[in-house]
Symmetry: C2
Subunit: 599 residues, 2 copies
């Protein structure tokens, strides 16, 4: 400890909001170099390498082969796949001295595809799975939570190549199993969720989420075992409703009713009925603005039942790769037909007198109007009348208004029905630690990766891509393995196996502690020895607790009676043992624990 390049902090750094970030900085594992960009100190690097090793072991066990690509890449392959544009502002772009375009790779589908194209040409070369553990770059809009959402981070990314779909299915399952083994070895609980593929493309994808309150992903679970990222939850289209009894739509004066709550009050005063009007009887029309990757902005209106809110992340997933935000006054300027607080579907969308549809089906003149699948055709609504302080009653979908389509825009709530019909959904939050994709032929087609099949026919290869956030996993492990005092690592990823503390003043204490440290090191264990002469026992204990090595060996006052103390960092248990038995007892403890962790 007197030489180790570390400095522990008693206070949480001002910019750190989650425990993993706070503790990794306080315990001297990482330091911030720029927003979302971190330096690794010796202790942090040791843990990182152990996590990497477990990932590498399990990847190699599947027969996957490790390679290593550059992080600085030319534009052209990403142009071919369209991701140069689709990634929008999330991509770090730069020019070299000859004014050529480069990027810092956020993920490497294109380069792996091109390398396989360069080397292979026959079905006999496949199946293939190649992977790397490498630094990735994403210019996140909101880097947060330390290592959880960074701009420079380490990922394991693997890519599989097959001639036939069945082969992809097999490789996907192999990677899925390997991920389960990795997270089990790391002791990190996870839920495998159906997910959206986003900018990656492809037909099927699943996320490995580590459930935790501080996670930024919301996911759902049902009794059947169904689990999905909130973005990927599908809502069945509501069945058509008979509207033959619904009277004609009628407009009423509804002063000062720009909120759903005010509108419900007005409705109950204006047109009282047996079942009082509720928020769910009203139709909420939300104006959103999309930023397309090319930079164009588009205003759209989304309709949903008045008792529901819009979930922007779900909308964004549905409209990828556009970024989505709630429209502001600036965005509404060119849309006088959208009367704030009184927007109604009657004269917007396909019904708009301004609507123009060209030969290719492109819409102009009026904004796109999308409805939530909960809006049944034939259902009647109270909603805005496109005039200040007026609402319309009994406006029937399919009779009085039309939409351009449906969209998953509504936030999922605890108790919503599971898409598989297995009952109510349970909601939770988690950190995305892995994401596996069946990409299919998107990249192989874009970059012309073909091989000859068994019949000598040229076939586009089908691909999978398998990401695992190594630095994010480390943060998730810190979230899981800590208490109020500090970190508390499992032995297989801890920066050392045992932390020896010399607490006290006599030379004998230091000599004994040093000799025990030496013997344990010689026995093959990783030891941190706190040899600091002018540091109090209190500070040494606090540092031991903060650093989180799973076992402590305290050489202190008890030495006068020939005793030293073995501590368990996680349970807090403490055992006094005779000094001459210390090495043997500690060695047994460590060996047992290491073996239990498969080391």
């Amino acid at each position: 400890m007197s030489n180790l390049f570390v400095r522990t902090l008693r206070e949480n750094p001002a910019d750190a909001e989650v425990p993993s970030h706070q503790l990794l900085v306080r315990a001297g594992y990482i330091r911030r170099a720029a927003p979302g960009i971190y330096s690794w100190l010796p202790l942090g690097l040791r843990v990182l390498r152990k996590v990497e090793k477990i990932v590498r072991d399990e990847m190699n066990a599947t027969g996957a082969q490790e390679v290593h690509f550059p992080a600085l890449l030319p534009r052209e392959p990403y142009e071919a796949s369209n991701r140069w544009t689709e990634y929008g502002p999330n991509l770090f772009r730069l020019k070299d001295r000859r004014d050529n375009d480069y990027l810092l790779a956020p993920t490497h589908e294109e380069m792996f595809t091109l390398l396989v194209k360069d080397l292979y040409s026959s079905y006999k070369d496949l199946p293939l799975n190649i992977y790397q553990i490498q630094t990735k770059y994403r210019d996140e809009a909101r880097p947060r939570a330390g290592l959880i959402r960074g701009r420079e981070f380490i990922m394991k990314d693997a890519y599989s190549f097959d001639v036939h779909d069945e082969g992809l299915e097999v490789q996907y399952q192999t990677m899925r199993d390997a991920y389960e083994k990795i997270f089990n070895r790391l002791g990190l609980d996870y839920v495998i969720c159906s997910a959206m593929s986003g900018a990656m493309g492809g037909s099927r994808s699943e996320e490995f989420l580590h459930p935790t309150e501080i996670g930024e992903d919301t996911f759902v679970r049902a009794a059947s075992g169904y689990a999905a990222n909130a973005e990927a939850v599908t809502t069945p289209q509501a069945d058509d409703v008979d509207f033959s009894d619904v009277p004609a739509a009628q407009v009423y004066e509804t002063p000062e009713s720009t909120t759903i709550e005010a509108l419900v009050d007005v409705a109950n005063t204006l047109l009282p009925r047996d079942t009082p009007w509720e928020a769910k009887d009203t139709l909420k029309n939300v104006v959103l603005v999309l930023s397309h990757p090319g930079g164009e902005k588009e205003v759209i209106v989304v309709a949903l039942p008045g008792d529901r809110d819009v979930d922007l992340k779900r909308v964004e997933a549905a409209l990828a790769p556009a970024e989505v935000d709630v429209a502001g006054p600036e965005d509404l300027k060119n849309h006088p037909e959208l009367v704030p607080g009184y927007i109604g579907p009657e004269v917007i969308g396909p019904n708009s007198p301004n609507r123009v549809v060209d030969e290719d089906g492109n819409i102009s003149g009026s904004v796109r109007f999308l409805v939530d699948p909960r809006i049944a055709r034939g259902s009647a609504w109270v909603t805005g009348a496109n005039e200040n302080e007026k609402h319309v009653f009994n406006l029937v979908y399919g009779r009085d208004f039309e939409a351009d389509g449906t969209i998953e825009a509504v936030e999922i709530r605890e108790g919503d029905p599971a898409p598989d019909g297995s009952g109510p959904l349970e909601l939770a939050r988690g950190i995305e630690v892995g994401h596996i994709f069946q990409l299919g032929r998107k990249y192989a087609e874009a970059l012309d990766l073909k091989v000859l099949d068994e019949n000598g026919k040229s076939q586009v290869v089908t691909m999978g891509s398998y990401g695992l956030g190594v630095t994010r996993v480390l943060a998730a492990l810190a979230e899981k393995n800590h208490d109020d005092l500090g970190l508390a690592w499992p032995i297989n990823i801890a920066p050392a196996h045992i932390h020896v503390l010399a607490t006290g003043k006599g030379a004998e204490i230091f000599e004994t502690a040093e000799s025990l440290s030496g013997e344990l090191t010689k026995a093959g264990f990783e030891v941190i020895y706190d040899d600091r002469a002018k540091v109090s026992a209190g500070v040494k204990f606090k540092d031991y607790e903060l650093l989180g090595v799973p076992y402590g060996l305290v050489v202190g006052r008890g030495l006068a009676e020939g005793k030293v103390e073995i501590r368990n960092r996680v349970t807090g248990e403490s055992t006094e043992v005779p000094v001459e038995e210390a090495v043997e007892r500690v060695a047994e403890l460590l060996k047992t624990d290491l073996e239990a962790h498969g080391e």
Copy 2:
């Protein structure tokens, strides 16, 4: 081999000029992703990791501690050290989505300095040496020779921190010794050369050069053991010469004499003398254009004896951080006083009637004029007269013309005197594989890194920086360890210890080869087994020779007589052994070789 992600090539790639580049591509170790940017295939990555491990071992043995910094860094620290500007076009610069400036780090002095400042505050924390093995970026003007001069490459960079100069001296020597151990373990011969510090700054630096014809660095050696990079060779200022007998300078018509050769002919015709005129009697005035890091261009004139040529790399080292090129017609446009082919020092430099020197000593109105130290004050020259087709004779330095200073501009030649007076210099070429610097206080001052010393006084820390080009070392190893057939690695860095070849058609051959491979693997050796069924023995031998694993075990026709063959890739030796002794014999061979390499 049937599964390994590799494809060997029989032809050299078109863009590869040096053997390491040709063979590493042909043997499937690396592939080009962009100019100066390479992807690592499984075989290449294995060798890379072994080189890294040796470097890491020896760094750790010195007590240096491994850390890891980001590659993507904010501008500010590099602004403080002035390197944001000084690196000129060699730095990859980019902006993030908030329009903040970032760079891809070419080396990390600033960040290490800031991290130590963040953590440490007392002399008691020092000495410290921290290092990383990390990806670096330089936007080289001319990336070349594959891994030898790349734009994305791996470096080990270490930084030492001390309160006092003596401490820096000790740490510098420790690193120097560690580098010697590293290169010895790698079997890479090297010469330690005095070097220029360039953009790095600092007081003393030495380069580790691996001597090879294809190296891009020229270095010199003398019998005394003196060795220096050509840029760092110093030329003593020639002693003053008595010019009292030299007649007044006189201008002559010298038609068509724009070359030194023509001028010498003209002189011998015009003014014949006992000792005929030679090139060394003429003064050559070379117009150069400097590109300063800020983008400004400056034209200068450099004078040297007519029998010598300018070495642009030496000029560049002398005028760092400016880039230097020979001036073209465009650069001369604004300088009518510089008459191409007839430039003379009489009316340029300090003698120019246009010369203006402001209060701060800044020169304008006429170009800077620098002379080689071989030009003695008092010496007389034949040189241009600043008029078309005219030269001047007996122009005396100090009497008829003046200079703004001296510069090391002349190319060093075999046989030039060593600066230490130990006799003639020998010239050779090499690859720079390491560079160690005594930086002193440049970075600590720029970034305000101070600690309290023994007397409680605040002291600026003194630093060293120690670079080792890991990917370049690998290329140098490939240069050293190859023959006409392919690579031929030493066992401690080879991608495997033994290459088992099944050559022949019977099932028994393949079964035996597979079983021997399995046994050798089980014994802890790294095995490549060529199990390809439809590949001829000829192709298998060619691939074995190309890949460069140090030993081969051939299971082929000899198996009918119970024999297999052990081959030595380097010597070409081949030994037949009974199949039942094969594992034991191979194991002994490998063990002996590994031990000899300190493994």
